[in-house]
């Protein structure tokens, strides 16, 4: 037993000296293990990518070959017609415009509100703090589609149906609970002495928050922004309730409305779906370097 340990170590030592393997891989990994790990990861990547590739394939198919059992990734006679048809659709630009306005504004507001709220939750021991946090968590348990009817009635009363304002308020509220939790965790991981020294230097609350805390909390904020954006960019059910006229349709609503004539427009639909998914993916990729640190900083400490 002991000799095998020593043996292993001397082997490691050998590799470390060679400095080829150890600089690329973990010391203890044998060649076979590395091959197996790569095999599993590549299989996982294939499974993760395949459905996305499938949309690309369908969107590239010529319109007479939409229903096909071919498994080719790039179809025969591949064409961009579907993309051109999608963009040429008169309503398409309206959907994009609506989606952009709604998503960007609701992300900005949701972020501002939840970052402020989370800061208060993190730094102040007010009465009912714990209850407040639990209540926020509790809202996640009410099935969201079930508040549709009351929300619709409320929005009608406030005359906010079919307006940007109405849907933006809903998206802000959707994003707040999770983001407050996320950001509170992140703020908790930032040492209080940072602001305290700022106060000694005569800073007030707003400057200390704005100039000192926010820059440090950037990874957390990036992730909160990501979730807020994703939540509103791809939301369909609430939009369906609040927005009614076609001029107000968002991309998801437009997509679903296209789905009515599935058989004829399958290709155009796939192209539009891809155009919808790509901004979300880009935002995700941009934020991905923050994803790990931003999401878990708080929970590790707390």
């Amino acid at each position: 037993m002991k000799s095998s340990v020593i043996n292993k170590r001397s082997k490691n030592y050998y590799y470390r000296n060679l400095d080829i393997k150890s600089s690329y891989f973990d010391r203890g990994d044998s060649k076979i293990k590395i091959i197996i790990i790569y095999a599993i990861l590549i299989l996982a990547c294939f499974i993760a990518l395949y459905p996305i590739i499938n949309i690309v394939t369908i969107s590239l198919r010529p319109s007479d070959k939409l229903l096909s059992t071919s498994l080719k990734i790039i179809p025969d006679n591949a064409t961009f017609d579907n993309f051109i048809n999608a963009i040429k659709k008169p309503a398409f630009l309206t959907w994009v415009k609506n989606s952009l306005i709604i998503s960007l504004l609701s992300t900005a507001f949701a972020l501002t509100i939840s970052v402020m709220g989370a800061y208060a939750f993190s730094r102040h021991n007010f009465r009912g703090k714990k209850m407040g946090l639990n209540l926020l968590l509790l809202t996640q348990m009410f099935p969201a589609p079930m508040i549709m009817l009351p929300l619709y009635i409320l929005m009608t009363k406030l005359r906010l149906t079919d307006t940007y304002m109405g849907i933006i308020i809903v998206y802000i509220a959707n994003a707040i609970p999770f983001n407050v939790w996320l950001m509170k965790g992140y703020f908790d991981s930032i040492d209080m002495s940072l602001e305290e020294s700022a106060y000694v230097d005569g800073a007030n609350l707003v400057t200390a928050f704005y100039k000192i805390i926010l820059p440090v909390a950037k990874p957390g904020i990036a992730i909160a922004a990501l979730f807020a954006f994703m939540g509103s960019w791809s939301e369909y059910i609430m939009a369906r309730v609040i927005l009614a006229t076609e001029d107000m349709y968002t991309l998801p609503m437009g997509l679903v409305s296209m789905q009515g004539d599935f058989t004829t427009q399958w290709g155009v639909y796939s192209a539009t779906a891809l155009i919808t998914a790509i901004p979300a993916m880009l935002v995700f990729i941009c934020c991905s370097k923050y994803l790990v640190s931003g999401m878990t900083a708080g929970s590790i400490k707390g």
Binding site: Y38, Y119, H124, M141, M148, L149, P150, I300
Partner: protein, 312 residues
């Protein structure tokens, strides 16, 4: 001289502390927007919905605002219907299988990625892409993949096992349910994987080095170091993941569509179907309240059990 300096410093600290406390109380103002939005858009509808569940509201009397009180009638009706228990069972099955698969695969991939590997960054990026896809597009895409005639899955099954192996993914409720689970597992792995990676990166390497010195096997290291230290990170993620899965509408609603019997539904999608197709608003309100109570009970007991473990 020295004394004076100390005195001076003290004074400065005191005034700084005073202003700190004053500033600290101002922080409460930061809460106002959160509270306002939550009251308007979440709390008010919640209360409204609870009130609704004790009334009788259908399409015919919706606009009259004159809704008769019916007490617990809606609840009684739900509990008397056998379909409720069927759907409840489905929901539990759906949640347990999904979350178990998310944790198993997500954690496994995170463990594989948490080592030195060339190309790790790219692999990680590809693996989180499912998360970046809007949910209803995911559902529709998988519906396409499961298409009984043209979908990749049946085409592959046919190519390997012959035409007998083609499965009725979208018409038989049992297979609709399985297909939905596959789609949702695909969708949910990246979240757990990323949380897990974050947790793994925060574990001090020294623990492993010490274990290595003691001759611990890889399995022992995983069981006695990695898993316990991941727990504080994974617990909230698992609770949230369970709640989200329990309440996930898009996947089953789109996969099952309207042409599959209720057997493939879970509580939320069933309640949605009742509200949209049968226009029985108070009935589905009662359903929503029941879902809410189940989840609240589950989460609070889960958190409590977790806390007890920590005390021990």
């Amino acid at each position: 001289m020295r004394v004076k300096k100390g005195y001076y410093n003290n004074l400065q600290i005191k005034s700084a502390k005073g202003s700190f406390n004053r500033e600290k109380n101002k922080i409460l103002l930061f809460l106002i927007p959160t509270v306002l939005v939550m009251l308007l858009v979440v709390v008010y509808p919640l209360i409204f919905e609870i009130v609704l569940s004790f009334k009788r509201v259908v399409l015919q009397n919706l606009r009259s605002w004159n809704w008769p009180n019916v007490g617990f009638d809606n609840y009684n009706r739900i509990f008397q219907e056998p379909i409720f228990y069927k759907v409840l069972g489905n929901t539990l099955l759906w949640t347990v299988i999904n979350v178990a698969c998310h944790v198993f695969f997500g954690m496994g991939l995170a463990l594989l990625l948490n080592r030195k590997l060339p190309g790790k960054g790219i692999i990680r990026l590809i693996l989180i892409l499912p998360w970046a896809m809007p949910e209803y597009i995911v559902a529709l895409t998988w519906k396409g993949l499961f298409n009984e005639e043209f979908g990749t899955i049946n085409v592959v099954l046919k190519a390997i096992f012959g035409s007998d192996a083609m499965l009725p993914w979208l018409s038989d409720p049992k297979y609709v349910f399985i297909a939905s689970i596959i789609a949702n597992v695909w969708l949910g792995i990246p979240f757990i994987m990323m949380v897990c990676l974050g947790g793994l990166q925060s574990i001090d390497k020294e623990y492993y080095e010490a274990a290595e010195v003691d001759g611990a096997s890889n399995w022992q290291k995983l069981k006695n170091i990695t898993l316990p230290l991941l727990k504080p990170v994974m617990t909230p993620a698992i609770i949230l993941g369970s709640v989200w899965t329990f309440n996930k509408v898009n996947i089953i609603y789109i996969m099952a569509g309207n042409n599959v019997s209720d057997d493939a539904h879970i509580l939320v999608t069933y309640a949605m179907k009742k509200a949209f197709n049968n226009y029985n608003y108070s009935y589905s309100a009662a359903f929503a309240v029941i879902i809410f109570l189940i989840l609240a009970l589950f989460s609070s007991s889960f958190i409590k059990a977790q806390k007890m473990n920590q005390v021990r």
